[in-house]
């Protein structure tokens, strides 16, 4: 019996010992992941910040990068008159085609992808702010360090919201307080405020005139950029060229003001950038779009692209060049329009009232789109073809690939053989595509090819043209300065024929002709506000073509519908799949993804007309 008593005692002890460490026994921390507390120090926040920057390229791991890439090729160019969807026929990316036909709704994947990419960027920026605050509380970082982290995070948060406003106008603004609720309790307490009555904002309206009851969270975004402007250093922190700077914040804030029609504020911000002397135009226009021009003097803020890096076996930190992966045509997306090509024609001195080498401006009595540049539409690669010999702006062949002209350093564009599907027309995009010579700066992994070509969110030429626009629009504006600014941009091209496209033999590849606007006379459109406005806008289209800005330019100028209707009328004869497409009033902004509206339980509502 003694034996049993001993045994029972031992067992009792065991049970007791066991039950006293219950809580510990039932505590199993997640493995292979980290909680906020582990991250709340300088190095943790830096890493969170990197991932907040990481969303600039639009790739965040869920939906296909090309649909929401930071270059905005779909929303800026396809949605306007600069390019077509492209790809392998009409079934390739049908949702993008619905956008191009202005028939999209809140169910399109491309719309959802954009929304998710941007708000993921907002969320990641908020994570930085959140963990920075925890670190401050834990005293693992200093106030000064915290300020820098928060300034960069707010720059990014503002940027992602700005992109959302550009796409949808009436969007929710998620600050760190709303975000905290969302994260800890899954509660959505912010929404958007589109106008109650659709008619209030139906139709195209320049942002400046947006009336009705809808609220665009401009103010919140401006607060973010103002904070960034005041707290960011003039040159990138720690010399890391990808970081936001004071001038990047100023430049983007200037654009925000420009969108709202506040020309004097825009101008004063831009003058600050110009006066800083930090920025200048690159002599070689095309360097802006290839690796050697990354982070050079013209770049005010760029989305950094990287290849052959830590993401071994993946290329998602790289740039797919809008057309998609692979040489020469990639997946064949983003085919430039005939309308855009025609815009690069320059006068030969006999047309209209202009001297040779100027664009086909209406004030010269010209219509750039009346006669198409000769093209190989409908021809096979073996059919004979001679490129057009009319005078052309040399920027054309750094923007658009066309038959018979060298395509970067890949040789002469052969036409149909490099066109994946000719229903989207005979042209290929060039900006952001890879050079053969830049081999070390592109990667080919798992069948996908990407480059290290950065994408410029804001470059100095853009800023100069913005300033020119302000000078035109301000009642006390200086039209002479506007002309100077435009000429400054044109001169970079005009003054450097050594950087024009040349054949292998060193001959100019086409009949390039570009001149500056003269001061006075029948060739000077800057004598009147109207003429100056046309000249600045036309210059903007040429200089910034296929860089994802066109639609918003049309929108803020208030000419989206008229321009696009005119464009479609002629373009749909050639691109028959566009027949019947009409830009409707509500197309001035995009539909909010229906999934988001459904999930939001009343907090987020659809834009008028969708």
């Amino acid at each position: 019996m003694k034996f049993y008593i001993k045994l029972i005692i031992i067992l009792d002890i065991l049970v007791f010992a066991f039950s006293s460490c219950t809580d510990e026994f039932l505590e199993k921390k997640p493995q292979g992941t980290m909680t906020e507390d582990i991250l709340a120090d300088e190095s943790g926040i830096e890493r969170l910040l990197i991932s907040a920057y990481g969303d600039l390229d639009g790739f965040f791991g869920v939906l296909w990068k090309l649909k929401n890439t930071g270059s905005n090729w779909i929303y800026g160019d396809v949605y306007a008159d600069n390019s077509h969807t492209g790809g392998y026929g009409l079934t390739d990316q049908p949702d993008i085609i619905t956008l191009e036909r202005y028939e999209h709704d809140g169910d399109e994947e491309v719309i959802e992808a954009k929304w998710k990419a941007l708000y993921d960027g907002v969320a990641k920026s908020n994570h930085v702010i959140r963990v920075t605050n925890i670190a401050l509380e834990n005293k693992t970082i200093t106030e000064k360090e915290a300020e820098q982290f928060i300034a960069e995070a707010r720059f990014l948060r503002g940027y992602y919201h700005l992109e959302a406003i550009k796409t949808w106008d009436f969007v929710p603004y998620v600050d760190e307080i709303a975000f905290e609720l969302l994260l800890s309790e899954n509660k959505l307490q912010v929404g958007n405020q589109p106008p109650d009555k659709p008619e209030d904002n139906a139709g195209y309206t320049p942002w400046a005139d947006l009336g009705g009851e809808g609220i665009i969270p401009w103010e919140k975004v401006e607060e973010d950029f103002s904070f960034a402007m005041e707290n960011l250093p003039e040159t990138p922190r720690n010399g890391a060229l990808g970081r936001a700077t004071k001038y990047a914040a100023i430049g983007i804030l200037a654009k925000i003001k420009l969108f709202q029609g506040d020309f004097s504020k825009t101008l004063s911000l831009i003058n600050e950038i110009i006066q800083s002397g930090q920025y200048s135009l690159l002599e070689n226009y095309h360097e802006n779009f290839r690796t050697i021009g990354d982070n050079k003097s013209e770049a005010i803020f760029q989305i950094q692209a990287s290849v052959n890096d830590i993401a071994e076996g993946w290329v998602e930190n790289g740039n797919l060049g809008d057309a998609g992966s692979g040489f020469p045509f990639g997946w064949g997306f983003n085919h430039p329009t005939q309308n855009l090509v025609n815009a690069f024609k320059t006068t030969d001195g006999t047309e209209g009232s202009a001297i040779p080498g100027l664009p086909f401006l209406p004030s010269f009595g010209l219509n750039f789109n009346e006669i198409d540049l000769i093209n190989d539409d409908g021809l096979s690669a073996s059919d004979p073809f001679t490129p057009d010999t009319r005078p052309l702006d040399p920027r054309l062949d750094w923007t658009i690939g066309r038959r018979g002209i060298p395509y970067l350093d890949w040789g002469i564009h052969p036409g149909r053989d490099w066109i994946r599907d000719p229903i989207f027309g005979p042209y290929s995009p060039i900006k952001h595509r890879e050079h053969q010579d830049d081999e070390s700066n592109y990667a080919f992994m798992w069948g996908i090819q990407a480059t290290a070509n950065n994408y410029s969110v804001l470059r100095y030429a853009d800023v100069l043209l913005m300033a020119a626009e302000c000078e035109v629009e301000l009642s006390e504006g200086d039209l002479n300065r506007a002309r100077d600014l435009v000429n400054q941009v044109r001169n970079r091209m005009a003054d450097h024929p050594e950087y024009w496209v040349k054949s292998e033999e060193g001959e100019l590849a086409a009949n390039y002709l570009i001149s500056l606007y003269p001061n006075g006379g029948s060739s000077d459109p800057f004598l009147t506000k109207e003429g100056a406005r046309e000249a600045v806008r036309f210059e903007r289209r040429l200089e910034m073509a296929l860089e994802g800005h066109r639609f918003w330019d049309l929108k803020r100028w208030g000419i989206a519908k008229t321009t696009l209707d005119t464009y479609l009328e002629k373009e749909s004869i050639k691109r028959t799949y566009l027949q019947g497409a009409i830009f409707k009033d509500h197309n001035i902004r995009h539909p909010i993804p229906n999934t988001e509206i459904d999930i939001s339980q009343g907090m987020i509502s659809q834009n008028p007309g969708y």
Binding site: S19, L26, T33, Y119, G242, S306, N454
Partner: protein, 1094 residues
């Protein structure tokens, strides 16, 4: 290890055991048990109050060793009155047993304890283990098919493939695997695979909550209790050997078009599409259309118009590897299969006496797959012992070691994303022969075909998945008082998985061999369970029986996996193929997960003379998977029963032996939801979250981004079950009948809550909340008739019947759809299975085809068939043509829409859930001869036959390549010669198939899946071994499995396994039921076997 070698080892071990068996001490009692019908075999003899005993042999004789004569023996046999006999100083105790209609003394294991069936008030299946074990397989769960009412088993024909067991329908949209308990220790589906089916003594299924709730948070999907064989107190050592060897064949392969017919279809499909007739191979040099003599690689350097000279053959080469066209047809699907050997050997030694008992078993199972180069081997070793340390104290252990090796895992099923070997074989062009003119494997050359499947199989013949498992328990039992027993048991469970995959491309058909490689995957899991119970059992005033159990249990589990891969080895020789020797592309991966559970439980039973029975159970579980207030959960259950047959007023009803009415209510939980769901967490991510912050072009820095959106309020899922049942036994227990009705409601089901994008994206994209509801109701019954034993002719027959009705009551909202399967491979993203509110889990979904447009008039009178994203070059978004499929306008809005919210015309097209399934055992015995049959059937379910998409529709998809294998059905397409267009099922053959017809969500693929199968037919002879010295039993038999099937299903096999889909938390769902994605077919097997006991 070869089988003869295995046998040698086995013999040696057994020999050792014999020398050491010295348990037999004390007095030996012998005797004969008889009844009216003569000697009674199989009578259970137990020493009263003890745990040892024996059973009578075929002559009713028994031997028993007892430490002393001061004992009472208890003789029990189903249907006979139990006899308690005091031994005294006798050594021969003969007993006459009378048929007793009122006693059912069958003992069942009920979780931590055992109980007599008669006073059990929950719903339980006691499986007929002996007949179950005749199923030739390595997996116990496969043997359960049709043997237990309420249990649904789906399986694949691949040897060693995991098997899905579902008890009473599908209780959650998450993981539905039942809890397995092997000798008291919990085990998962993968551990159960390690068991040798021959080791099993008993299997019991706890079906309702009142029976299962003692297992609390793990019992919502039912509990399967398995007890392994232990020794018998016979006083001597018994050996038995059983074995079988057989051959398996694949059956019922579908018929394919000949190469000539395929070429014709190719031609017609171009003609009908208005495409210029051209094909690099079929359009011959004389401009006629036909089969070429040779298949010419694209980019060839051969003059097609000139004579082809086989001596120009070069290997390896892209353009000079000549291939002779196989005009008769290679029949790829047949080529990948072979007749395959199956063999199983099992050796047991058992003994027992006063000091204790033991059982030692050795097993070897070896099954070749019917797919070439595929094989499964299993070796098991088990020792179960019990020592009587003293009269009141016993210690013991169960210990099993097993080793499995699955060679060349070709996959049970394909997926929509990846094909498996069977779907690839269906997609291979029969004009391509296996070998080219140089007798090398043909193929993998542009213009000729993709990979050569036979080469692929040969190439992967050295791939093995090896598993080492150790499962055991160490326990003691102490009778503290006469009626109070303490038991404590510690069960370690060690799993080691080692997968070795090599790729050796050289010497095979590939002209560009690529580089050789090695992938190794190691998974180590250690799990331990410790439980202690106190059990009190006492009868007051001969009428009031009390049983009470209290206990606690702790479980901890830790799993670590590691993966490494490297390529470019100097030599293809496998002896050089080690991780240290590769040159390029090293990759590693690995993670650890842990969970733990700490519980207390109690159970109280009371019955009044086994007439009025009540029972209550409660368990409190604490789980590491939950946090805060949800860390602990309480699971109660109650049940009651009334045995009307025990009432006095029933005494006259002689034919009625037992009649019991049962009712039970209880709650059980499902905590099988993955680990760490409560935490918000972050992780490094070098792909999604990296950024080149330094602007260096090739130096992206790694970032940290959210990994999981946790939900601190996550908790277990709760199932509440109401069960009512009747047990009936009549005619001296010859007829037994048990029926149960149940209603099981699952609440708090974990649902993916769509997360607003404003929260950002985590690696795991959803938040989960306990908001779903699901309901299962059903009836299961078993009816069995067994004629009296020991007559010259005996027979028995029965039915195990299972019916359940499953309905998803509530998800996040009525629009939420869980799609089954992975994304569709052809970019046509619609998957056929949906789980949505109001319908059974995993229902089939899509457009309903109501015919084929016969003429323009019909098109004009029909709704417009438009598809949002189908737009032609003229901006037209409609598509309809004569000869194309016509769809049902479900929402009557005069247009057919696909995927447009609010206008979608897709609907539920069918259900993979049968109206009922059943197993029918029929056993006949005449003198020594016996004939056993087992029928299995399923009625009222549909099957989604995904193969039809490849073989019936996608003929136009391959452009200028050779077509895939085409079903003969294609010859009966609309517009084909001799086809009555009004009856045609397939639309006109046309290379420009509208996108819509390429989609997977169409009613064309849904078929009736009902079938009746003669699963087993066994004919054998039991030798009369009376005069054979020492031999107690000798039995030989011939057996056929999967003898024939009556079904309308057009695929290979109507018995469809689910395809396995894991979610981010590692749990497996049931969203792809009844979808035949080229399932590894279940083969027909013929075997011969024997059992001998001596």
């Amino acid at each position: 290890m070869s089988c003869s070698k295995a046998l040698k080892v086995l013999t040696f071990i057994v020999a050792c055991v014999i020398y050491n068996s010295s348990f037999s001490q004390g007095i030996t009692i012998t005797g004969t048990v008889t009844s009216e019908d003569g000697p009674l075999p199989g009578v259970n003899i137990m020493v009263e109050g003890g745990t040892y005993g024996n059973i009578t042999d075929s002559d009713g004789k028994y031997v028993l060793v007892s430490p002393n004569p001061d004992i009472r023996l208890v003789f029990s046999y189903v249907g006979y009155e139990t006899v308690h006999e005091y031994v005294g100083n006798r050594t021969v105790v003969d007993i006459f047993m009378e048929v007793d209609v009122s006693q059912l003394e069958e003992i069942v294991v009920t979780g931590y304890t055992t109980q007599a069936v008669k006073n059990f008030s929950g719903a339980i299946d006691v499986v007929d283990v002996e007949s179950m074990q005749t199923v030739p397989t390595s997996n116990v769960t496969e043997q359960l098919q049709g043997r237990a009412p309420g249990v649904t088993v789906t399986q694949s024909g691949m040897p060693g493939a995991p098997i899905s067991v579902r008890i009473r329908g599908y209780g959650t949209i998450n993981q539905n695997d039942p809890l397995y308990i092997i000798d008291g220790a919990p085990a998962d589906q993968y551990t159960i695979e390690m068991l040798n089916p021959d080791d099993i003594e008993s299997v019991q299924v706890l079906k309702d909550a009142s029976a299962a709730s003692i297992y609390g948070a793990r019992a919502a999907s039912g509990v399967i209790l398995i007890t392994t064989k232990s020794g018998k107190d016979t006083g001597k050592t018994n050996f038995s050997f059983s074995g079988y060897v057989g051959v398996q064949h694949v059956t019922n392969l579908p018929e394919f078009c000949t190469p000539e017919e395929v070429a014709m279809i190719q031609k017609i499909s171009k003609e009908n599409a208005g495409i210029t007739l051209e094909h690099p191979q079929y359009l011959l040099s004389d401009s006629s259309w036909g089969l070429p003599d040779y298949l010419i690689p694209a980019g060839h350097s051969i003059d097609l118009d000139g004579p082809i000279n086989e001596s120009d053959y070069v290997f390896p080469s892209y353009d000079s590897a000549f291939v002779r066209a196989d005009k008769e047809g290679t029949k790829w699907l047949e080529q990948i299969f072979r007749p395959a050997l199956i063999q199983n050997y099992f050796l047991t030694a058992t003994s027992g006496g006063e000091k204790g008992k033991f059982a030692i078993t050795l097993g070897y199972f070896d099954q070749e797959g019917v797919v070439k180069y595929n094989q499964y081997k299993k070796f098991t070793f088990r020792v179960n012992t019990l020592f009587n340390v003293s009269k009141r104290f016993r210690i013991g252990e169960t210990f099993a070691l097993s080793y499995h090796n699955l060679i060349n895992d070709v996959g049970m099923q394909g997926t929509f994303l990846d094909a498996n070997i069977i779907s690839e074989a269906m997609a291979s062009a029969d004009i391509i022969p296996i070998y080219d003119v140089g007798d090398n494997y043909s193929g993998n050359i542009q213009g000729i075909g993709g990979s050569n499947l036979i080469a692929n199989l040969e190439r992967s013949k050295d791939n093995s998945n090896q598993y080492f498992r150790l499962l055991g328990s160490f326990f003691f039992e102490l009778d503290i008082l006469k009626d109070l027993t303490l038991k404590s048991s510690l069960s370690p469970n060690l799993k080691m998985t080692f997968e070795n995959k090599v790729f050796s491309p050289k010497q095979l058909e590939d002209p560009d061999p690529g580089i050789n490689s090695l992938n190794q995957y190691v998974d180590n899991s250690f799990n331990w369970t410790w439980y202690s119970t106190l059990y009190y059992n006492k009868t007051f005033s001969d009428s009031h029986n009390f049983r009470a159990l209290v206990g606690f249990e702790a479980i901890e589990d830790k799993t670590t996996y590691q993966f490494a891969s490297i390529s470019n080895f100097y030599s293809d020789d496998l002896s050089f193929r080690h991780l240290s020797k590769g040159q390029e592309l090293p990759q590693v991966d690995g993670i650890t997960t842990e969970w733990s559970l700490l519980s207390i439980f109690a159970k109280v039973d009371y019955d009044f003379r086994a007439k009025y029975i009540v029972s209550a159970t409660v368990r409190r579980d604490g789980s590491s998977r939950f946090g805060g207030n949800n860390k602990y959960a309480l699971f109660p259950a109650f049940s009651a029963a009334w045995r009307m047959s025990a009432e006095n007023f029933m005494q006259g009803a002689d034919a009625l032996n037992d009649l019991k009415f049962r009712i039970g209510w209880g709650q059980t939980g499902n905590q099988n939801i993955g680990n760490y769901r409560i935490y918000n967490s972050y992780s490094t991510n070098y792909i999604y979250a990296a950024y080149d912050i330094e602007g260096k072009n090739n130096d992206a820095q790694i970032g940290i981004s959210p990994a999981y959106f946790g939900n601190a309020n996550t908790k277990w899922e709760t199932s509440t079950t109401l069960n009512a049942g009747i047990d009936l036994a009549m005619f001296n227990n010859k007829l037994t009948f048990t029926i149960d009705w149940y209603d099981r409601n699952t609440t708090g089901m974990l649902i993916e809550v769509p997360t607003t994008a404003l929260k950002g994206v985590a690696d795991e994209g959803y938040s989960y909340e306990n908001i779903g509801e699901l309901n299962n109701t059903g009836i299961d019954f078993s009816l069995f008739y067994n004629s009296l034993q020991n007559r010259k002719f005996t027979w028995s027959a029965g039915i195990n019947f299972t019916h359940y009705k499953n309905k998803v009551v509530k998800l996040y909202n009525s629009d939420q759809i869980y799609w089954g399967g992975n994304d569709d491979w052809a970019g046509l993203t619609s998957r056929p299975n949906v789980t949505m509110e109001g319908y059974p889990i995993s229902s089939f979904y899509g457009l309903n085809i109501i015919g084929i447009f016969q003429n323009k008039q019909e098109i004009e009178n029909s709704p417009i068939q438009k598809f949002k994203y189908t737009i032609n070059t003229e901006g037209d978004t409609t598509w309809h043509d004569v000869g194309r499929w016509k769809y049902e306008d479900v929402n009557k809005n005069d247009s057919i829409d696909y995927g447009t919210p609010g206008e979608d015309d897709r609907k539920i097209l069918g259900s993979p859930h049968p109206d009922f399934t059943f197993g029918l055992p029929i056993n006949l015995q005449f003198k020594g001869f016996f004939l056993n049959m087992f029928w299995y059937g399923s009625y009222g379910n549909e099957i989604y036959n995904a193969n039809k998409r490849t073989t019936d529709i996608l003929y136009g998809y391959w452009g200028e390549d050779f077509n895939n294998g085409l079903s003969k059905r294609v010859l009966n397409s609309w517009g084909m010669e001799g086809v009555d267009n009004a009856d045609a099922k397939l639309p006109q053959i046309n290379q420009n198939v509208p996108d819509m017809e390429l989609r997977s969500g169409l009613s064309y693929y849904i078929e009736d899946g009902s079938f009746l199968r003669l699963q087993q037919l066994i004919f054998g002879y039991n030798f009369n071994t009376k005069s054979w010295n020492g031999v107690e039993q000798f039995r030989i038999y011939l057996q056929a499995n999967n003898v024939f099937t009556i079904t309308n299903y057009e695929g290979i096999d109507p018995m469809i396994t689910r395809s396995e889909i894991n979610n981010a938390y590692g749990t497996v769902n049931d969203f792809s039921l009844g979808t035949d994605l080229s399932q590894y077919p279940y083969s027909r097997t013929f075997l011969m076997g024997m059992n001998i006991t001596f």
